[in-house]
């Protein structure tokens, strides 16, 4: 990693660490959301950015992680610290089951199928009233049990917890992408047939990427459930999936830093425009189209383009 990048990352981390001490609770809340979305987008990036197929259902796995973690802690009383890994692994396994047949489809077919899958999961959340309480919302989720004497009921504590998980996630993704496995995934993205002809087990790696991506989304969901403490099916609708795709696109595919930038930018813009709710999405769609026209590889693409000129 270049020196410039390291400095930038260091600066960002420094800012993030000091935020709860210098700003209001509202900003802490917004930044926490931005971090959650960054995690979602970065893990989502593993699929279209590095492996190729564009999936439209990250929110479904996000929701599955959230609901399973919440339900585990509510109904069986186990601690969050156990529910988190359990739901993460559960979502990961489920994604393998779903991904295996779905990834036999190519390109747009896969995209549309995942679109539907996402909608279907949303319908399940909405209609399983006995389990998820559907549109009434699942509330009363408790914050994580205290460890090391930290009380996770406070927003600041959750902020730091999510920050830590965010760093772990990004570090994990970064290592993965720069490893041999990562290179294999990129080879699949570049030319799947050639990769297959060269002996890469494309089916295995595509499913693996999809599952890791979804498992991480599930983990993020679990964190969200215990942060927000109220779950509602609309949080996991295809609108949210769209948002993640758009954040990914705005930030730039094929990089780790791109999705994080995208998530941050979009979250802040959306919050800034709270005063004009109807106009929000309009401005945002226009912005997206403009960005696509100028630089199809998103903001990260712009950053690299500028860096090359300098």
């Amino acid at each position: 990693m270049s020196r410039a990048n390291k400095i930038v990352i260091g600066a960002v981390l420094l800012i993030l660490v000091t935020i709860p001490h210098v700003t209001s609770d509202y900003i802490v809340y917004v930044v926490t959301l931005a971090m959650l979305f960054s995690m979602l987008t970065a893990s989502y990036d593993l699929m279209p950015g590095f492996t190729g197929p564009l999936s439209f259902c990250p929110a479904a796995f996000y929701g599955l992680g959230a609901y399973s973690s919440a339900l585990l802690t509510l109904n069986t009383g186990i601690s969050f610290w156990l529910a988190l890994p359990v739901s993460t692994i559960g979502v990961f396994l489920f994604a393998i089951v779903v991904g295996y047949p779905a990834l036999k489809l190519r390109g747009h077919y896969f995209a549309v199928t995942t679109f539907f899958f996402g909608h279907f999961v949303y319908l399940v959340f909405l209609n399983s009233r006995e389990i998820t309480k559907g549109p009434l919302g699942l509330g009363g989720i408790s914050p994580p049990d205290s460890i090391l004497g930290i009380d996770f009921g406070s927003m600041t504590a959750m902020y730091y917890l999510i920050l830590v998980f965010g760093i772990i996630t990004v570090a994990f993704l970064f290592t993965l992408v720069h490893s041999g496995v990562g290179r294999l995934l990129i080879s699949i993205r570049e030319n799947e047939d050639l990769a297959q002809a060269s002996g890469v087990n494309t089916a295995f790696f595509k499913v693996l990427a999809f599952s890791i991506s979804s498992g991480l989304a599930g983990m993020t969901g679990s964190l969200f459930a215990h942060f927000f403490r109220l779950l509602h099916p609309t949080t996991f609708s295809w609108m949210t999936s769209e948002m993640i795709v758009i954040m990914f696109l705005v930030g730039g595919s094929g990089t780790i830093i791109g999705p994080i930038i995208g998530a941050g930018v979009v979250t802040f813009i959306l919050e800034l425009m709270r005063f004009a709710p109807e106009l929000r999405f309009i401005i945002w769609s226009v912005l997206l189209i403009v960005i696509l026209i100028i630089e199809p590889r998103g903001l990260a693409g712009m950053y690299y383009r500028i860096r090359r000129r300098v």
């Binding site: 549309v112 199928t113 319908l123 399940v124 769209e242 997206l288 199809p296």
Partner: protein
């Protein structure tokens, strides 16, 4: 038995709407490899246009229908001409994906414009015909009949006319078609406009049945996508059969299995068909 027949009728009527939107999508997708999500929002705007034509301008229904279709056609044409075309022949890797995402952004954009301008309050489209036959109002029957008529017209256009032949050639091999002298720009414009007109027609036909509201395009769009994939590319008849079929399956599923998951059945059917027949039921291209 009566209820069963009623559901079949409902299914066919709803299915014909899916089929109309799907036909436009199918044509566009065959030629440009873009699943034009924006059609869902043209649908919404066309419905509002028809609504205002009838309520504010007091025009007869047929005129409102034509207005809706024209709006759909114009919007689709503009989007193709000034947006999709930019990435049409670019060689960089993500070109197709960019078009897809632009389509989604446009869908969002227009649907939210409708929301901002006219609020989410559903507008009741006034009824334009009285009377019914076998428990189906003439309006409902008209949806099915109009859809079939439009399908026949499009089929004749695509199969029996020279421009139609050019479109078919372009959908098989755009590069070769261009070499042979077919103007791809014109073909694209025509196909997009046609798609927009079909979505517009579907919207205005459906409007009197269910009222007009900004998110009315979401579900028909999703269903239409399924129909396109099921019906396979390059087949007009396939789209109609699959559209009607999907409508039927949904209606029967809602009655016999569960109506809460009504909109999820399409998903299962999709997966099933794709696993068994990856090119769709009638796929040719």
């Amino acid at each position: 038995m009566d209820l069963f027949l009623l559901q079949i009728g409902n299914g066919l009527i709803v299915g014909s709407v899916y089929a109309l939107v799907a036909l436009g999508l199918n044509l566009i997708w065959s030629i440009t490899d873009i699943p034009d999500f924006a059609q869902g929002s043209f649908y919404v705007l066309a419905a509002y246009t028809g609504y205002f034509a009838v309520t504010l301008l007091k025009m007869p229904y047929l005129v409102a229908l034509l207005c809706g279709m024209s709006l759909g056609a114009v919007l689709a044409f503009l989007c193709e001409r000034f947006l999709y075309r930019r990435w049409r022949e670019r060689l960089f890797r993500d070109a197709a994906r960019v078009q897809l995402l632009v389509a989604i952004a446009l869908f969002f954009l227009f649907a939210n414009i409708a929301n901002a301008l006219w609020t989410a309050k559903p507008r009741i489209f006034p009824s334009y015909m009285e009377g019914s036959l076998f428990n189906f109002s003439y309006i409902r029957i008209n949806v099915l009949i109009s859809a079939v008529i439009l399908f026949i017209l499009v089929y004749l256009f695509i199969m029996k006319t020279k421009p139609g032949k050019a479109i078919r050639a372009a959908s098989m091999d755009p590069g070769m078609a261009q070499i042979l002298g077919i103007n791809i720009d014109t073909v694209n414009s025509v196909v997009f406009s046609l798609g927009g007109a079909l979505s517009g027609a579907a919207a205005v036909l459906v409007a009197p049945l269910y009222s007009v509201f900004p998110s009315m395009g979401d579900l028909p769009l999703l269903k239409a996508l399924v129909v396109v994939i099921l019906g396979g590319f390059g087949s007009v008849a396939g789209v109609l059969i699959c559209g009607l079929g999907l409508g039927l399956l949904e209606a029967l599923g809602a009655m016999y299995v569960s109506s809460a998951y009504q909109h999820g059945y399409a998903f299962f059917i999709l997966i099933l068909v794709l696993l068994l027949k990856p090119k769709g039921l009638f796929g040719r291209v």
